[in-house]
Symmetry: C2
Subunit: 326 residues, 2 copies
């Protein structure tokens, strides 16, 4: 009887130790300097008693979205929402058949539609992003994102998020970090799906926004989206928005383009340990390879500043075992 109990105890200890074996929190990252830099930073800022310990309330990590958490080629995905909405709305706008840039979109000629540059893009954005309530806009994006497919991969856009970055956000949250998205994308466009896809709730999403007005429709208060771009959350706008909305300097920042440079500079200039990294798109086989000369996610000035600043370059081809979830 005693022997049997001893055998059971041994088995119990064995299973308990199995259960306690530390699992790799970043299984889609190759072992190497990049992964080590991330885990070293998290370890030194979360170990009680360490000189570099940071209390939970100050563990703020900010992530750009386009090109950092999901793909952004051949165009920022929000642009495809604009084109799809123009097609959906066309019956209510017969004048668009002969009016650029809308006519080009309706002919399927996106290159001509975009030839008008920023002015044309903003005109299309306002036509599709304003004139409705915030609730109506959110419903429209939710419907689109759950069905629309990327023209090149045929995948849902939300299937083109980066698996290693999903793991990284989970890893940081498990270590007491609050994860924010700080993106040039529209804040309400992102909030329609970021909680489900990234686990990032609406209060932790910071983005560009258009003017919004509070109006009473009878007894019902409504927030109406107006055709004016109020804030562009890019470049110097990112640290400004971080300050206005979070009110604390982040501990970690992740981006992929010159649009993220100011956010990385602002983050790493804080006192004590800070971490900044740039996702470098180097993988034409599994995703895309682009940097200095790209029209989306241009990475030029910031690429040269990685080394002098002691930042981390995440090399998509070298550092990631896989790119997308399967």
């Amino acid at each position: 009887m005693k022997t049997r109990i001893s055998a059971m105890l041994v088995l119990l200890v064995f299973f308990v130790s199995l259960g306690c074996k530390p699992q790799d929190p970043l299984p889609s990252w190759h072992d190497g300097n990049t992964k080590q830099a991330i885990t070293d930073f998290v370890t030194k800022t979360t170990q009680k008693g360490a000189a570099t310990y940071v209390p939970e309330k100050d563990r703020i990590a900010v992530f750009d979205n386009d090109g950092t958490l999901w793909s952004e080629t051949p165009l920022y995905f929000q642009a495809f929402y604009i084109f799809d909405q123009i097609r959906i709305m066309a019956p209510q706008h017969p004048e668009w058949q002969n009016q650029e840039p809308f006519a080009s979109v309706l002919r399927g000629d996106l290159e001509s539609a975009l030839a008008g540059g920023e002015k044309a893009l903003i005109e299309m954005m306002m036509a599709t992003h304003s004139g409705m309530s915030t609730d109506e806009f959110r419903a429209s994006v939710s419907q689109w994102i759950s069905s629309a497919k990327h023209p090149a991969t045929g995948k849902l856009y939300t299937a083109m998020v980066f698996q290693p970055m999903l793991e990284l956000m989970n890893y940081l949250r498990a270590n007491g970090f609050t994860v924010y998205i700080v993106s040039g994308g529209g804040v309400d466009f992102m909030r329609a799906w970021t909680e489900r896809v990234y686990g990032v709730a609406p209060p932790q999403v910071i983005g560009s926004r258009i003017a919004t007005q509070f109006v009473m429709q009878g007894n019902t208060p409504v927030l109406m989206r107006e055709p004016a771009l109020e804030f562009v959350n890019d470049k110097g706008g990112k640290p400004v928005a971080i300050h206005h909305i979070i009110g604390q300097r982040p501990l970690m920042a992740f981006g992929n383009s010159d649009g993220d440079l100011a956010m990385l500079q602002w983050t790493s200039a804080g006192n004590g340990p800070r971490f900044a990294a740039i996702v470098h798109h180097t993988d034409n086989a599994r995703e895309s390879a682009y940097d200095r000369k790209s029209h989306v996610g241009k990475l030029d000035q910031a690429l040269d500043l990685i080394e002098p600043n002691g930042w981390t370059r995440i090399d998509m081809k070298q550092d990631w075992k896989r790119v997308y979830p399967d």
Copy 2:
């Protein structure tokens, strides 16, 4: 021996039951309809299994600051910061001796200084709130708030917060609510002290703000405060800011003036259970009594809308055992 153990057990049960006796979470509130309405709402939204249960992530409570969490007479306290700063900065501005509204402030004649209305106030605000970095401004407010005294009570301004509202915020947080401040006051003015005084951390503070620019001073990134009022977080601006920054509709809203009306309307128009309340200043003996005709915290239109909307009126004189912490 057995008897002695039994006696000890009885004592033990007695002390445990003493320790478990539910303490009143709102000891500075008189028992009555108002307190009951608050605790009933919290109970019904936090009891698992109830049809009115709300998950923690949606338990958002928004509080106005001036007149709701601390006093606001004879002037919004931030105005006293402006006057004190003008006196401190005067040696660097000899021209102010003959230039209104500054000259009146320097003579101690605040009434004349304010006679210029909003234009004069904004001019004084810009002179004292811009032209420095966000870090410098915060340091200035921190120093002021820890030493400046209210002209009538002689108390520190932070000693003029409402004890019943401190208890209410603690009670809500203990029940899984996230407490936000949504105030017309300057967001950076408030963040310098709200965490220490209210337990409300910077990311949960929403306020008015002036334009801010990201600039590199040599290798150091700095956020500079510019002399332009960018956003006034009052009236319809409150639900707009709640939407932009929180991205979710609050479950509970607390205000005290017509400036909070839109926030209360927006909150209570949500689906499911919602709670909205107005602090009514009825207590000239312990604080102040004012509503429809006041130049601060005017409560007129919203006062008439309490009953038809089923909102709660917090009657300072009737509902609060004490006003300030002692």
